[in-house]
């Protein structure tokens, strides 16, 4: 991982911070795409509130990356000026919105991982990481509560809603193993007490998700082909399109303010 394309110009801690930033940034952008397309007005506001929470968190992480390395410019330059290969988010976060079950399944699988990771980061030896994690976790607690309710509501709903949610879980399960993969650089940060240890998070994540799936009368896929690469900057094709839309204004008018 240390010689991958995405690491150029960043030390391993900054690379980790960018990973923590890019997850909420990319998922926030995906949720944004649903603006004016949500099934009901109340859900519309809820989705956009979640999106804005995630952008706020991404901003805190990016600001910290810039504070550690002022040569990076500012948080806008990092969010809007980096190319696809420099984004270190999990593949799960960049998956398309699909139908509402797809959106909420993606949200739930990420929310559980996000909460567990932030919980671990609250104890980080890096005080700024611990502070940002502590600030974010209250929001993420609520995100998880809401997405969990939707997974159960649709899974244990009508036959049709059950089928939609089951196929969403089946589809997204391909991105579940990547949540817990850590390269050598990140493992060194774990050893220093800075980064979260994903092997203990994996145990908790699987237990939590299994319990919810049981409650939602859903079945966990087995023998699912697993995809990796997001954390190394290797993304799926639709990600480039998403990024092009997200960055077009900034790239057309660099430094514009309003």
């Amino acid at each position: 991982m240390s010689d991958c394309y995405a690491t150029q110009g960043h030390d391993s801690l900054n690379q980790y911070i960018l990973h923590l930033a890019d997850n909420p940034l990319v998922l926030g952008q995906r949720l944004c795409e649903l603006c004016t397309h949500a099934p009901i007005l109340e859900e519309e506001t809820a989705l956009m509130n979640t999106s804005l929470d995630l952008f706020g968190q991404a901003r805190n992480w990016l600001d910290y990356a810039v504070a550690r390395n002022p040569q990076l410019g500012d948080c806008d330059a990092l969010a809007m000026g980096r190319d696809e290969r420099h984004f270190l988010n999990l593949l799960l976060c960049e998956q398309g919105n699909g139908n509402f079950a797809d959106t909420m399944a993606r949200q739930y699988l990420f929310d559980v991982w996000h909460r567990l990771t932030l919980q671990a980061l609250c104890l980080s030896q890096d005080s700024q990481i611990a502070a940002i994690a502590a600030k974010s976790i209250k929001e993420v607690d609520y995100h998880e509560q809401r997405s969990r309710n939707w997974v159960i509501r649709l899974g244990d709903g009508t036959q049709q809603s059950h089928d939609y949610m089951q196929s969403a879980i089946n589809e997204l399960w391909s991105y579940s193993d990547e949540l817990f993969v850590q390269g050598d650089d990140e493992l060194q940060l774990v050893a220093q007490g800075i980064a979260a240890n994903q092997s203990s998070i994996e145990v908790q994540w699987r237990a939590t998700v299994s319990q919810t799936m049981a409650e939602a009368t859903l079945t966990l896929p087995t023998d699912c082909f697993q995809k990796f690469g997001g954390k190394q900057g290797e993304h799926s094709e639709p990600f480039g399109l998403m990024l092009a839309e997200m960055q077009s204004l900034y790239r057309a008018h660099p430094g514009a303010v309003w």
């Binding site: 109340e42 506001t45 809820a46 509130n49 309710n149 509501r153 009508t158």
Partner: protein, 95 residues
């Protein structure tokens, strides 16, 4: 269930400790849990509340507009029900 079938819930928010809950609006939701979440999303996003009540709109018994006269006009003439016939001490002047 079609989304148009979702019942309406009335939302009450208490903005600060010591104040009472105030009616702020309504939300559509499939049940009480969702009504609570939707109320939180719509009515407390600018730090408005410390407590939320949601009540099924059907559970509210409302006075009928056509009974307005019978219900409310009589007290208008009963000025003796207002404490306006004696001097208040200066310290409670704002009452």
């Amino acid at each position: 269930m079609n989304k148009t079938d979702w019942p309406l819930y009335e939302v009450f928010i208490r903005s600060r400790h010591g104040l009472s809950h105030k009616h702020v609006g309504s939300v559509h939701a499939a049940d009480e849990t969702m009504a609570m979440e939707n109320a939180r999303e719509l009515y407390t996003r600018r730090n408005e509340g410390t407590s939320i009540w949601v009540v099924d709109s059907n559970a509210i018994c409302a006075s009928a507009p056509e009974q307005k006269d019978a219900m409310f006009t009589s007290p208008v003439e009963k000025i003796y029900r207002h404490p306006s016939f004696y001097q208040l001490p200066a310290s409670v002047d704002k009452m």
